[in-house]
Subunit: 794 residues, 2 copies
Amino acid sequence: MTANPESLDRIDRWWRAANYLSVGQIYLQENATLERPLAVDDIKPRLLGHFGTVPGLNLVYAHLNRVIVERDEPVLLIAGPGHGGPAMNANAWLDGTYSELYADVTQDAAGMGRLFHQFSYPGGVPSHTAPETPGSIQEGGELGYSLSHAFGAALDDPDLTVVCVVGDGEAETGPLATAWHGNRFLDPRRDGMVLPILHLNGWKIANPTLLARIPEQELAALMTGYGYEPIFVTISASESPSTGHQRFAEALDRAFDGIERVRAAALEDERRPWPMIVLRSPKGWTGPEEVDGEPVEGTWRSHQVPLDDVRDDEGHRRMLEEWLRSYRPEELFDDTGSPFESTAGWGPKSARRMSAIPQANGIRRPLDLPGLDAHAVHVESPGGSDAGATQVLGYWLADVIARNPETFRIFSPDELESNRLAPAVFEATEKQWNAGVEPVDEHLAPHGRVMEVLSEHLCQGWLEGYTLTGRHGVFTSYEAFIHIVDSMFNQHAKWLEASAGVAWREPLPAFTYLLSSHVWQQDHNGFTHQDPGFIDHVLNKSVDIVRVYLPFDANTLLVTMSQCLDAADRINVVVAGKKPAPQWLSIDDAREHVQRGIGELGWAGNTRAAETPDIVLAAAGDVPTQEVIAAAELLRDSIPDLRVRVVNVVDLATLQSPEQHPAGLEHAAFDALFTVDRPIVFAYHGYPSLIHRLTYKRNGHENLHVHGYQERGTTTTPFDMLMLNDIDRYRLAIDAIDRVPGLAEKAADVRARFATAREDARRHTREHGVDIPVVADWTFASESQREEREERGS
Amino acid sequence: MTANPESLDRIDRWWRAANYLSVGQIYLQENATLERPLAVDDIKPRLLGHFGTVPGLNLVYAHLNRVIVERDEPVLLIAGPGHGGPAMNANAWLDGTYSELYADVTQDAAGMGRLFHQFSYPGGVPSHTAPETPGSIQEGGELGYSLSHAFGAALDDPDLTVVCVVGDGEAETGPLATAWHGNRFLDPRRDGMVLPILHLNGWKIANPTLLARIPEQELAALMTGYGYEPIFVTISASESPSTGHQRFAEALDRAFDGIERVRAAALEDERRPWPMIVLRSPKGWTGPEEVDGEPVEGTWRSHQVPLDDVRDDEGHRRMLEEWLRSYRPEELFDDTGSPFESTAGWGPKSARRMSAIPQANGIRRPLDLPGLDAHAVHVESPGGSDAGATQVLGYWLADVIARNPETFRIFSPDELESNRLAPAVFEATEKQWNAGVEPVDEHLAPHGRVMEVLSEHLCQGWLEGYTLTGRHGVFTSYEAFIHIVDSMFNQHAKWLEASAGVAWREPLPAFTYLLSSHVWQQDHNGFTHQDPGFIDHVLNKSVDIVRVYLPFDANTLLVTMSQCLDAADRINVVVAGKKPAPQWLSIDDAREHVQRGIGELGWAGNTRAAETPDIVLAAAGDVPTQEVIAAAELLRDSIPDLRVRVVNVVDLATLQSPEQHPAGLEHAAFDALFTVDRPIVFAYHGYPSLIHRLTYKRNGHENLHVHGYQERGTTTTPFDMLMLNDIDRYRLAIDAIDRVPGLAEKAADVRARFATAREDARRHTREHGVDIPVVADWTFASESQREEREERGS
């Protein structure tokens, strides 16, 4: 299959039209169709856009149209280069999608005027590709994620080809540099294919790009090494566009033929290198060659607006007009400003249009969630059973996988087993891996619902690509190292936030983090593995998008995860432990507790309903809750007439006031729970300041004394970690004594006993290298205490 | 130069000794020299260590000793694989460094016992390489940064070779995947060389590694593509170690010869591929082949402790003893437990020992800082001059560069010019670049003090490597995208914190971030480029390590940067604008203000000293301060009898109480400045909750009403961004009126006027695409207002 002169001419028309429309967006607020010579007031007062990357993107778009029509195959296009907004808008307007989605931006002169005016204009559309851009799942702001998005989008969509234009700027980033390896994971039999087009236009903002400046044989070797068969196409500004079109069309045909060969080979269990294209074309191609004596086309000077003084400098303004007219708009648009049939009528129709492809425009595939009862831990009495929360969850997730064989996946940076979701999930699936295998390997298979690679960036990018195209998943990682994707999280949150404001986009599946091996369970790995700050980070983003949960046992984790996977337009952060620990709530109690997100643990305290306690012991997080329960027991046993209330927080949003967060607990309920005048000793999983930040609008927040991780860590024992950070049961009990007015004197002996117990525990750790027996197995309660709890719990 | 049988035998002895000492650290708390059969109590109660990577690291160390002795060249070794602690400790003990630095860990049986006992034991040393590890600048916790550290360490140290062992796990990470390109930047004439050894032991925690499972010709192509000439060495568990030693010694000789050839070619202005080694050796090599019927050596099962039941299972314990004895310790250590001369006596001496190399063990090269006066902006009266803060700073930095031609560098992800430090710095230097150049290029040169690459990870990793080896620098980036290195920041902060507790390490140069193109100057790039949350992130780390500054004009920026570069063991975050803006303080006033870190701007308010204001308007950040000054003017002009105090905060630490932070303002001074009972309207550069978090221990914090970035953004105008987030001058003035008791009624007309002005400003933006003239150029004051300020300022 090769392109003929006629089809190349059509492509050229589309390309010129898209270029015209792109330049128009950057510069014009009036006179879109050049009815009259350009005047000062036709020009926008602020020129905020980027032309450099645009002609290359338009070239790719125009040519893909031919391929789609000829092969009748769905193609999802991801535009990696940072500033491709004008190009993607232009193409969506040409193929009609824009006018379908935005009724006022009609396919005529008036609509073209609106398309131009709104671009990068207050109240208009952003200069980058964004949720407002039809056909896009890729934010053109922060660079480096296009290729992992592409691989994620291709998973489980075997008919799809995702074409990913990789900018040579973003190709320098780490996340992009490792994303090429995606072809070692995807299965061409069950997944779609990705066709990367590395677009070397040679320049970034102010510097040449690395990959454009290494010898071509090194670049070819690099791509070979990444598992591809590179196809090189170089187009220069000095040649006629038609020869360039010819070569690029041939390259695309070779690439799509290559994709078929990869698919065919896979059916024979053979692995072939995947095709990819290296496209060299000038930055700012078709723009002004030279401005004021300085070369512009083909240099970094065309990165943003090649002519920047068009309002004040009449010469520049005339150059702009010549530039626009150089696309010969009269051949492209009729008198009403609509594109001629020959310009855009030949392109793909309806859902085959890249701007209209359903995968990219907001879709949420159904997810069949199993019930929880079969997987719940039987809890006779609070603290009466032991289980590892993530291990229990693993079996439920295996069930989710079994019910959703094409729409649910788990992603992890080599931590699935360390986080104890395996071996349970292997009852339902394997780890997907399409590189070499050896006889000793376990649970690797060409297809499977678990993706593991030692790159948090790839896990995040893949799951983003997967959820942005309507499917569901969980990213499970060590808590400390999830900071690696802080910035990717930011961009995804901003996408969801902006996306919610775009009327034609449907809600997207939730993105759920399951963070385990958390700060209190990294005693053995030491200081570097201890950081609970991701929660602080995510809570800066919109309250409508982000939720943070700290389930404190297996059943609360089950309920939480079920709720998270069921949500839409949401990023969930769930922090849960992996080690065997006492279990507190039955599944029914867990349902009620998670539903409220916050509540009293009546059986752990000794206040009757409606009675005002002397002290509130509150906790968020599994280990802090355990310590608070233990502290309450210590106090109750030693100072029986002290009225202690124990509160647990699962959903951090409940702490915020209802004015700050829709899930914030009503003030009256908050005051009833925490009191407005009694001391509150709060044991929090992470950095203590977060609790102050969340509660500063609450009555009685000055009574709040928060214990948490104080950035004190090393390789030691679990209980020693708690003591180092002043969040152990003894320290909490002592703090409670110190906070209740007058109690420190009255209970001086009790206080001293706790202090001694604490010293003993520390000495024991130093001398024996293990925790004192009473806490070593993480249960604390004696049989009689458990019985007592049971009585009160019932 | 080739290794002879005798030298190979010596290497084998060192290697066996290091392996013995590594296994001993993981398992033994007593009986280090195996004086008697292993008993239960000889075994540590918790086995917390990793053996898998250790034999490979020991192999590299032992062989490099020969190379160093034969060539008499300094080698800095960076151990990338995550869990190499036992190996590096073992080697440092063998070459004598350990006993020199830790007097109680003597080079005899008793010292060996201590070496073993302390490892991964409460109160002892971590299981990873860490500041406690002699010769290490590399934290073995989070993976992916070894190679960028290596390149950073090699800069400006032309005699040095940095050998970097890259683990095949970390090789999957993004930061590592792009770090290979470092050879396109370093100049072999003026910088040291890096020799990467990609260590393929084939497995991560629970999965095979990608690079071990792609075809060897693809791996070779990948390395060729990265600019290297790979040398492959494969050693199998089944062969005799001596043949493996022979091949690895030859590979190292080839590599070091190759380094000489690269250096020689560079002198002729030629670029040759750099040598690198791909070493395949079994994971857990020399450990138990099989345990309980499962293969262990050469599989992921040897990742941590290959035998994990040695206390309870006598069979396992016997296997451990056999394993230890398989190294033939009687040939390696004498009766007193000291290594024989033939074991370790032949190695490098004094500073040539890799564990004792000065570059790695804490050093701070002098930095000659120029004075500020020559670069200061002349400020006749507050607001009386316009300047771009970072542009002014650029000239001073050029001066820093000129005075410190071998010890100071600037790193940036293609944002130096966008952040406006260039063109000023090009008066002193160029951008270092050793890839292809074209005639149109500007300011690229084989050596230069600026390193630009579109990877925040590389910039961060390079500057870490540079400062960890005693040199100085600045990392300048867009504010929003610095989150890309959140996690690298965490690890560096933890390194500095732990390092400060290691007696023999000297203080290190500061790491300074200069964040510009900040949230209030990204109106044109839109929502994705707006995120001021890095400050929130860094403030979770130890108060001794981290400082955040928000200078509010050019002179305060100059003073701040001078102070930052002068600091030690510190991470500084400086946020400053790049756009022309009014200037407020003379350089002398700036010195005084930055020294205090917080203070009243007397000329901006209208309260006399010691008079209690009706309202305090406070600000942190350049744009918020400008808005607060404008709001104060609005209020003063309209409600002359309202007593307004204006406060500016440069150093955020001053807001914390002195108990929380050593730089916290004394409570009495804080109360005097902010009052304890008057409303405070605080305009903060970033997320408002941070100010609440910092001040919750302050008197009167419930009077604090913070305005800041509320995660509302798009592509619009600068003033519209302020209005969107309720931090514009009108909104601040209105809030002030609302907060002063009784004023809202009294000044209802004024309030209404401000509200109207605000509406007008918004409408103007929507209609004209630019800000209203009065704020469009970011100056606000009329001439008469400036004069008035001057009078009050004097």
